[in-house]
Each structure stands twice: as C-alpha cells, then as structure tokens.
Amino acid sequence: MVNLTPDVQGFMYPNEIQLTWSILIVLYPFITGLVAGAFILASLARVFRIATVQPIYRLALLTALAFLLVAPLPLQLHLGHPERSLEMYMTPHRTSAMAMFGFVYLWYLLVVLLLEIWLDYRRDIVLAARTHTGPMRRVYAILTLGSRDIGEKSLHVDDRVGWFITLLGIPSAFLLHGYVGFIFGSVKANPWWSTPLMPVVFLFSAMVSGIAAVLLVYRTVALLRREPVDMKCLDTVAKCLLYLFVVDFSLELLDLVHRMYEASESFRTLDFMVHTRLFLSQIVLQIILGTLVPIALLTLVQVVRLGELARRRIDTVAAALTLAGIFAMRWNVVIGGQLFSKSFLGYTTYKVAFAAREGLLPAIALLILPLLILWGLLKLLPPWAEQEA
C-alpha cells in the first residue's frame, strides 16, 4: 500500500495527493512563450519597420523556430500514450481548448513561421544550392522545392507575401500563447487558474520572455562570432522588454489585488499556499528577482546615461533574470495549481524526480535542445549572409 499521507497537510481528496502535471508541463508554456516573444521582435522589424531592430530580424525568426520545434516534446514525454497523439488531429473535440490548440500550433508552425522563413531566405537557399557541394547541396536543393527562380519579379512576390504573412503572424502569435493561457484559464474547477486574465497574462509574459531570450541569443552569437553588438538594436530591444514587462507586471498585480479584495472562498487557501509552499518560487524568484529587479535595471538604463559596456551588461543580467522569473511564473501556475486541494482544506507537495521520464534531467535536456537546433539552423540559414551577399 503506497503511503502518501506524510506529504499532505490538512485534507486532500485522495486522488489529488499525487500531482498529475509535472515539470514537463511547466516547460511547455515556457517554451511556446519564447516563440511568441521572438516573433513579436521580428514583426517589429518587418511590419512596423522599426529599422533599429532589423539586424536581429532573421535571428529572432530562427530562434522562434528552434523553440517551436521543441515545444511539443515535453508534452509527448508526459502523455501516457504518445503514440496516440495524432488522435488530436484526427478526432479533435471541438469543446476542448487543448484540442483546438493543436491546430493553432500547426497553423503557426507551418503557415506563419516556416513560410515566412522560407520566403525570406529563398534567395539565399537557391544561391546555396548552386554553390555548395556534397550532401549539403542536396539539402538546399530540396529546400528550394524545385524552383530556382530568383529573378526580380519572384523576389518581389516573396517580399509582398512575406510581409502579409508577418502581418498575419502577429494575431497568430497572440493566439498561440493566449491560447495556452486559455487552456489553464478555462478550467473552472481550479480557482488558481480560472480567470479571464490568464490568456492575457500568459501572452504578455510570453512576449517578455521571448524578447529576453533573443537578447541573450544575440549577445551570445555576437560574442562567438567576435562581432560587435549593434547598440542601437540592443537598446531598442531592451526598451521593448521594459515596456512589455511593465504591462505584464500590471496585469499580474491586477489579478492579485482583485483576489485579495474579493476574498472569495478559495482566497484563504491560495494566500496560505503562496506564503508557504510557493514562497521561494513566487515571492523570491518570480516577483522580486524575476520582475522587480529586471524592471529596476531596465529603468535605470533608460533614466541614467550609461556607457555601452554598462548598458550591455545590465541588459544581459536583466534578460537572464527575466527568463528565470518567467519560468518561475509558469512553475507557480502549473505546479501551484495542483498543490492545494479543491476542497480548500489542505496541501500536498511536489518532489521533482531526477532521472525519470518526467524528471529534472529530461527537462534540462529539453531546454538545451532548442539551443542546439538553433545552432544547426544558424549554420544552415546564416542570418548574416544577407550582409555578405
């Protein structure tokens, strides 16, 4: 007989004692969130024609792709029967938020991201198919889909269609991550999750995390290539990060104040949980280190005239803290939502396994994997070929 009671404080319904969703389900909204944010940066360059962020346009797109490709993997690892996962596409239940998300994901991956990248890179792909030798030549040839036309007319078509796709991509990116928020926000059984603010909070925190991720990727890539960072670009990115962060923080504060004021039945149990079991991850990591400190640092950069080196360093630290903070936010939503009983009379604990299928080790691997994919993408489709050509 499994002895589960030592981990429980107060009363939990017997089936609630063991958590259903693990760290992998924390990873999933975190990774998809990075995609939305990276894409928004790209759209700033393409649609809103903000010239200062143009240097990272392609980098942002490739970052988004690398993370989007990895996004379904934590879900597949979690599923009891991943071999049946195609059922979500074959018999999607239209009342289920999760089922509809499968199509939103597919739409975003194929019609928005892959198409935009292909259209933007097509000229480079065709050139590469001509100039490369060996197995890479075959790869580029396949990527051309058999068309070698890079005349002015076809490139013009690419540009117009690409612009349109990026335009379409903005609401699609909103839908992509807002939807993940809705998957949680629509669960009426869970008062920690059930709020109309959830999709909006998820969306803004996604944009914040994605921008921070691209900032760090940009700095790393520049460092590895021994190239100077475009400071105008970095400053613009940092400014975007700050503005969106302020909106995100305001939304989360609104949710908190609303709960405290209305003090409905669930509030007492949630409040207690935040002050005890979630204290480290919510108060310390998410709010203080992950939100207040980065906002303060980014504001400092805006308000005080600092030299380039100082700005670079502060922006980097702020971005890193931001990523940690947004990860903590996903943890607090997913894990926090399962730590308290739906009877509002007790709490359980979550111990992350290490080398298990849903443990820390696969989670770390899944965070490293997109970086490896990005490295491969940067080799296959170098963002800087544009300048060299």
């Binding site: 007989m1 499994v2 589960l4 009671t5 009363f11 939990m12 319904y13 017997p14 089936n15 609630e16 063991q18 259903t20 969703w21 879900l75 979690h78 599923l79 009891g80 029967h81 991943p82 049946r84 996962s85 059922e87 979500m88 018999t91 999607p92 239940h93 009342t95 289920s96 938020a97 999760m98 089922a99 499968g102 075959r138 040839a141 396949i142 058999g146 998957i183 669960v187 009426k188 059984a189 869970n190 939502g337 399962q338 009983s341 739906k342 009877s343 509002f344 009379l345």
Partner: protein, 249 residues
Amino acid sequence: MDLTRRELLAKAGKFIILSGAALEAFESPTGALAADSKYRMADHYWAMTIDISKCIGCGNCVRACAAENDVPDGFFRTWIERYQVNPEDREHPHVESPSGGIHGFPPANAPDAKSFFVPKLCNHCAHSPCVQSCPVGATYESPDGVVLVDQQYCVGCGYCVQACPYGCRYLHPTKHVADKCTLCYHRITKGLTTACCEVCPTGARQLADLKNPRDPVHEFLRVNAVEVLKPEMATGAKVYYKDLDGSVR
C-alpha cells in the same frame, strides 16, 4: 542532382500507397452493439442517491469497488470522508479520509463537533467539465447517462483530471490512461446494481434510474432535502445527497 516535379510526385505517391497498406493492419472496431444484448440504452438514465444519515463509514463500498474494478493501490474510484464540524467554526471542518476509508476509520469521538461520513464518487455530470475538456473524445457521457473513459483511445494527457471539480479522476499508474468510476457499467447493463450499492449494509447508497417511473429516486428527490456537491459549478451532477451538511466541500 535536382529533384524534378515528376520525381517529387512519384516519391509522394509511393509513400501514400505503402503507408495505406501498412495501416490496413490496424484494428478498426466497428462499434456494433452485442447482438444478444437485451439492454437498451434509451430506456435508462442512471444516477445515484446517497443518504448521509444512513452512512456508517464501514468502507465496504470502497473495498468492493476496488475488488470489482481492479482499482490500483493508492487511487480511488470511490472513497469516504469523515467530517467533524465544530458549530462555532463551520468554515474549518476537520476532514479525513485514511486511504480513502478502504479499511474503515479509526474510532474517534469529537463530543463538541457534529460528525458524519460522506461517501464520494464520480457524479456522472450531465454537463460534465471533464467531457468538455477531453481533446480526443476519449471521455464521454453515454446515452444512458454514465460518464465513461475509452481506455483504448485515451492519450493520457490528464486534462480531464484537472477539469474535474470533485477529484474523482486519476491517471492509472500502469495503464497510463485516465480512470474513474464507471458506475459499474458492466453490472448495471446486466440488471445488477453497482458493487458499492450491493455491499452497502445500510442502503445509504442506491443506484437510481431516472427513466424508470417506478424507481424510488423520484420519491427520494420529491420528499427529501437533497443537494449535489458543488452546485455552483453547474456541472449537472447526478449523485444526489440527502442530509448533506453545508460544510461539505
């Protein structure tokens, strides 16, 4: 070597035909109802009644359910909670459910508190949030009112477990699919009652058929003070409790 349009189409065509042939090997159940079955779904709409004033917390129901349905250790398709409510502090009842009540309860006497047992199970909701949440159609309400899980189809995502306000679902630890009370569907379609009702010594738990005009449930609902769990969730729960105290969560 470049890929011509012809080559691309040829490759694609071969792939489709070969995978089509391979897939013929997959089983595709036709869904025909058993030919010799006398049971007609249209004649029944199942529910359950529970009389709190009769429950003695013996745990027979929990044990019988586990035996009837191979319920895995540590998980419960039905369970019993013991409440001790201090009249001065109704918002903080003391509740316990040691191993779901499967071995009964250690005797306790709280002289200042109102104490009682509350058996719980899947409420087979008419507007079930778990059915709404299932992405693939693996959990559903049958035409005769029973919420079931298609364990050959379930992908084990756990969304339904999160969506249930009552905590009656779990992911099966070895089958890796969602699992829960089936209202002993394999018994009630054969004219038997559920395992839990069969062994209840006081008749606190009774299977009910809302479509049967002679079923005692109609009188039960008319005469008694009846409530469902978490009525504010508007789930259309079909387990009706008599004498359920307001402090019950």
